[in-house]
């Protein structure tokens, strides 16, 4: 049931997204100022500033928006799929697989695009391993899926530690940045945008069923949801979205777990509202976090994954405290 406060929420989030893009365009080691950004965007000539905006800031902002949006959409899906409020995009080991592959490629001296490709490959491998192991005799219990994912995750974790402890110092530094989530190397291209768009359309199409599925498998089946098929769709959608996100920026924590919860607390419980809202808030949140990451100790940069937690923890706790418990 869509209500007026849902429209207001979505309108505010849309405004926030536009604002975050402008902030993200203007901030960094060279402060451009929002006025300058707007002039440049609308065609003014600006030499170095124009170059900074179009060659550095805009691609990076888009990468930040896309990875934030992908992660929080994936978080929404995982939380319904596993019916567990603690689920996040990484809970089934996708980021672990990506990390092992990415770190291995760093160790072997690859850089840039090769690391991204390796990460995507690792993520896909992990998705298939978990899928193959969790699916037994057509039964797809959330518990079994969760357990398989957590165990596979632990396995990847061990391999990550082996790679970290046996690598030379200089590569450990870039490995740590990758693990914490970092946008400084990233450029997200059209493929990620298409994945996000596809994920959005697909999830909007099944959004009413998601509302029912979050009440439990049996209840959903009795209300006309083909549970097995829906879960399959959800598993692969969430996985591909997560794989894309880690490919762009490594395993940025916190966004996928907390953004959906923030929005639920703000009243967006219906998935038809929650899905677009998560995309907008997740994307904006990561852009803002990334703006901080590259301006707090400029010209040095922090890994954005650290900043998401530094901003996100107090923001989430504030909303949690300010939300009134239900009356009565």
């Amino acid at each position: 049931m869509i209500q007026r406060h849902h429209y207001i929420l979505l309108a505010l989030l849309l405004a926030l997204t536009v604002g975050s893009f402008l902030v993200s365009f203007s901030s960094g080691s060279v402060d451009l100022g929002i006025g300058t950004v707007l002039q440049l965007l609308f065609g003014a000539e600006g030499g170095l500033e124009q170059q900074i905006l179009f060659e550095l800031r805009i691609p990076r902002s888009i990468a930040a928006f896309l990875s934030g949006a992908l992660l929080s959409l994936s978080g929404v899906i995982m939380q319904v799929l596993l019916r567990n409020p603690l689920a996040d995009p990484y809970i089934l080991g996708i980021s672990g697989g990506a990390a092992v592959a990415a770190l291995a490629s760093i160790l072997l001296g690859f850089s840039g695009l090769w690391i991204s490709n390796a990460a995507f490959g690792g993520a896909m491998l992990s998705i298939l391993i978990v899928f193959g192991l969790a699916r037994s005799q057509n039964s797809w219990s959330a518990t079994r899926l969760l357990l398989t994912g957590v165990v596979i995750s632990a396995g990847w974790g061990a391999m990550i530690n082996i790679l970290l402890t046996t690598s030379a110092n200089n590569s450990v530094y870039s490995m740590l940045f990758w693990l914490m989530g970092d946008l400084s190397q990233s450029s997200a291209g059209l493929p990620s945008a298409f994945v996000l768009l596809g994920g959005f359309v697909l999830m909007m199409a099944v959004a009413p069923s998601l509302n029912v599925l979050s009440r439990g498998d049996l209840q959903a089946a009795s209300l006309g949801v083909n549970v097995a098929r829906l879960k399959l769709i959800l598993y692969f959608s969430a996985s591909v979205l997560t794989a894309c996100a880690v490919t762009i920026a490594g395993s940025i924590g916190f966004v996928g777990l907390v953004i959906p919860h923030m929005l639920r607390l703000l009243g967006a419980r219906d998935h038809r509202v929650l899905i677009p809202a998560s995309i907008l808030l997740g994307g904006s949140f990561l852009m803002i976090a990334d703006s901080f990451a590259r301006s707090i100790i400029a010209p040095q940069q922090l890994p954005v994954g650290v900043v998401t937690a530094i901003i996100g923890v107090p923001a989430f706790l504030l909303i949690l405290r300010r939300t009134k418990p239900a009356p009565g």
């Binding site: 009413p208 069923s209 089946a221 009795s222 209300l223 006309g224 949801v225 239900a326």
Partner: protein
Amino acid sequence: MTNTAKSILETRALDLSIGGKTLCRNLHLKIAHGECIGVLGQNGTGKTTLLHTLLNFRVADKGEVLLCDRPVSDWPRKELATKLGILFQNSSDEMPATVLETALLGRHPHLANWQWESSTDLALAHASLAAMGIAALAERDVTTLSGGERQRLAMATLLTQAPLLYLLDEPGNHLDIAFQVKSLALLREQVIEKRLGLCMATHDINLAARFCDQILLLTGDGGFLLGPTHEVLTPANLSKAYGCEIREASYERGKVFFPE
């Protein structure tokens, strides 16, 4: 009545078993329009399994289930949910949602993929909440409800779903004695008025005696008794099925049964 009226649901030569234990053999059950059927039996005799088989949640060992003369396995899930609705034995509400949002989920099978609930759907949900006496809780979070309130909400969701056949698994669970009777009276009234069907699995012999036209009494060894309520519900039959002495007492509107 059952012979002339076309039935809503029919089982043909149904065999059920679970974990190697035979629950019933060769069951021919017919639920006609306007009819209420009670399923009784000890724990683990297959009451819930039977309901889940009727819903095509599980496949029978043998035989078939026909809904409106078409095997349930042939019905698309969503379409099936417009005809069959179930009240589960226990509901779990871990994800946050309001009472009204939960009741509105009952409209899910009736809506197309991109369709939002209309004001008619909303009115129906409000009416169902009112019928179950929880209209005042509409904006409450379901996680804050008491057990009885949850049961009422589950019933309201079922009313909002408005199926052709109500399947109830322990409808009296968590409800106070007054509301047990009130809610079933309301459902029975609807069943008769709108020519629906009702099949309830219960441990409450008296509730079944009061509201059901027919009784299926499962004996636990694959056997069962099926027939009009007054024929099946006798102290002798019940004592045998439950393995304890059950006696009856009469009052002006009928009989009550109680263990010795």
